[in-house]
Amino acid sequence: MRIKFIVVAIVAIIALSYVSTDFNTLNPVNGLWSAAGNANYTSGNYHISGLRYPVNITIDSSGVAHIQARNLHDLFIAQGYYEASNRLFQMELEALLASGNLSSYVGTSALNSDIAMHMIGIPQNAALLNSYVMTDYPQYYGYIQDYSEGVNAYINASAGNLPLGFKLVGKKPFQWTPLDSFAWQEYMTWDLTTGGTSQLQTDLLYSALGYANLSQIWPYYPYYTTNITMVPGNGTVNGLNLSDMGISSGYLWSLNWYSQFATGLNTSLFSSLKDLMENALSNISDPYGFSTRNTLRPEVGSNSWIVTSNYSSLNSPILANDPHLTLLAPSLWIPVQLEAPGINATGWGLAGLPGILIGHTATTSWGLTTPEGATANDYLEILNGNNYTYNGKEYTMWEYNYSLLGSKYSIFYTNNGPLIARSGNLGISMNWTASIPSPDLVAEIKLDMSTNYSQMINALRLWESPPQNFVLAGIHNTGYITAGLYPTINETLPNGQKVAVIGSRSLLNGSNPDYRITGQVPFKYLPQIQNPARGYAFAPNQPTVGKNYPYPFIGGYWTSGGRAQTIYHYLKSHRNTTVQDMMNLQSNVSDYWASQFVPVILKSLSSMSMNASQAMAYTILSQWNYTSYVNSTGETVYWYYLSELYNITFDRVYADHGLSSLTKPFDTSALYLALNDPSSATWFNGSYNQTSQTAFTREVSFLLQKLGPVSTWTWGRVHILEIASLTGLSALGLGPYPMYGDSHTVSAAYVSRQLQVPEPYVTVGPSLREVSDPAKSLFYGVFPGGPSENPISYYFSNQLTAWFDHQYYNMSTQTTEVRFVYD
């Protein structure tokens, strides 16, 4: 009897311990705890099969790995091995996400994401790209294979001691292939693609608000941006402009580009397509919310600028770049130097892809921002069963089948692209340029091998998707080019003139050949500028070119230009610019639009009788210098005023039409309307002053209730940064931290405008900062993280404090901390 009791007790304990399926992963030897033993780098020799000669790797005190090999084959094997040894779990999770196969790892919770990836076409495009690069660029494909080989060498070597992430999910890594790298490239391409969702949003707003109201809040060129284009001037590029083609830019931009001449569709149709368009929007939104763009988030972007030799204190070009992406722990970036005969590049690569995407060589430097011109266009399709109609005839749709978790799914393609929504005999297809293979990785490796400005330009001839504003600096020359494939549509204007335009504001008629993509902007006429005469240029997602550009950006969905204005005014007034000036500008937390809007707000409130709290808030606002440090109360008063103003203007109108989920108008639209249409019945109920006073009254009352006395309304209490883990587990992320900046400051910390305390967490910001002067061998950089994905490693977040403080690492002079030899 006693023995029976003991047996039952033992069995019960064992059974209970196995309720958690992977209880044994808590064992101290090779379970989760082994991550505690892998937290630091250890100098030593590591054998990697496939290497022809030993490869030396040193890790410097900032966490940058310097990989020195005797040939490119060994170099890329070593890069693959090193990156996998630091980021394998991240890389595989990202590859699964991009390949639409995440559900095989995490189950049904990822099913919608996987379906969205297939619908957008990311896995299909990756397969096409893989074949294309293999056939057309075999030498470079070899480098990508070398990288994969290095990744797999690490996977095989680590079989008995897997990274923490794999133990947490109870999975083993799969073998890496070039297809996984291409899938991640395609995902990042989608992340940086403009269009696709934009046309659907503007159509929904058009049908609800009408052209006049829509134009007020979403003008083709955002308000106050005509003087701050990337290419200075009226839009002439290499001598070509609209006027010389006999087309009046004034006439062209005065047209209603939602109307039938532009789209082939009767605008009265839009209201009946509301459900279809909303389904399309939903179907191509990444349910993981990881994507920076192509979601319904607030405006986000990146910064870059250059000063020419004549404008710099050192008589040599200086470049600055800080791309704004979703801030993740670990970062999307991994810092590395690649050195072998024919290449010596230092900078940041995307984990999972060979090469360096942003960085410098000894004599060149480059960075990128997103130009925001549409490369994904949506078409309305007429369907009949499995057929679509084109030019009066029916054709059978091409069917793509795939399986997830044992179930089969299909996607149907018209001649324009995949159907992203269907209702009865109508559907919406998406034409995305990434379905044309783009050898961006080849361009990237060529950039890594560049030794002068013209070599960088030549490398970018191969860059197609997504178009990017490449900021370039060599020893003598500096400039910009918006490299990439911009698809054009041949439009016939109401006056009979023809013009090739980029993108649309609206759904296009997929059945009508007149609205098909028929060409692309020639490389020579892509927006570009070299050594601008005024001494500087900048490209923080504002309009790239003026309205006289020969290929009008009808599908230009630019940001409001607040960062561009700050950069413009700074550079304009800082001749003899230094590298330190560039760093100072990257740390700027002044909100330019606030400096324009606050005087208007104060004036509207001046006649208001106020209680003590309101008077104090008013005083704080009137004394505010428009900076958004964490101890600023002026920023809080300003931001919540705008949130309240939105709540009773734009949000109200959007809600009335059931469109609350759509992107809200820019702050500049509110400013413009307050100045130019203060008695608008639609937006201000007849009086901006009255609306403004109501917003202010509500704001003070709201914040008193949520935050207490006015003097305690510091920005850091409501504006908070979280650097999340890709797994979604907050324990594996970084933060929350009180955060400076706002959506319009150069040192950006984007926040969607919600009336809540605290604001929704900041999740997008400068994913790295780079300042370079190649002629003087000055290269500085910092990013919010470190090379390792192990959350208890020093190298998980070793650069984070410097990033917060706007400090930089000299990328040439760091001391060596650790030495590896791969042999």
Binding site: I3, I6, V7, I13, S17, P28, G31, W33, A36, I792
Partner: protein
């Protein structure tokens, strides 16, 4: 059982425990590590097993830097919504309990066998 014999049993159990934890770190293998403790009687075998189990499993954390173990326990605790201390002790505790009860089991079995042998020996004498 002499004192020396008890100590040797405990040492042998600890040795088997370390061996299984290193090479086959599965909690139920504590049943094997408990075998040498069968020579202890009653509650002594349970207590010895519990101590050997908890001690051997817990001491293995010493192969890692303490601070890193503490940081990791906070992270894992955050993921599974448990106290970091509990996350740290749960495996050694469960392992120790299995080892303790298994020791008791082996001890009971051994005593039963011995008693049966003794009984059968008495019978043959009659």
């Amino acid at each position: 059982m002499t004192k020396m014999g008890a100590v040797l049993s405990i040492i042998a159990s600890a040795a088997v425990s370390y061996a299984t934890l290193f090479f086959l770190p599965l909690a139920y293998l504590a049943v094997i590590a408990a075998i040498p403790l069968m020579y202890l009687k009653g509650w002594r075998s349970f207590v010895a097993g519990l101590i050997v189990g908890i001690g051997s499993a817990f001491s293995l954390y010493l192969i890692y830097p303490f601070q890193k173990v503490a940081e990791l326990s906070a992270i894992i605790g955050g993921i599974v919504s448990l106290s970091p201390v509990l996350v740290l002790v749960v495996f050694p505790l469960v392992y120790g309990l299995i080892l303790g009860f298994a020791s008791l089991l082996w001890s009971e079995i051994r005593e039963n066998v011995v008693q049966r042998k003794a009984k059968s020996g008495t019978g043959s004498g009659n």
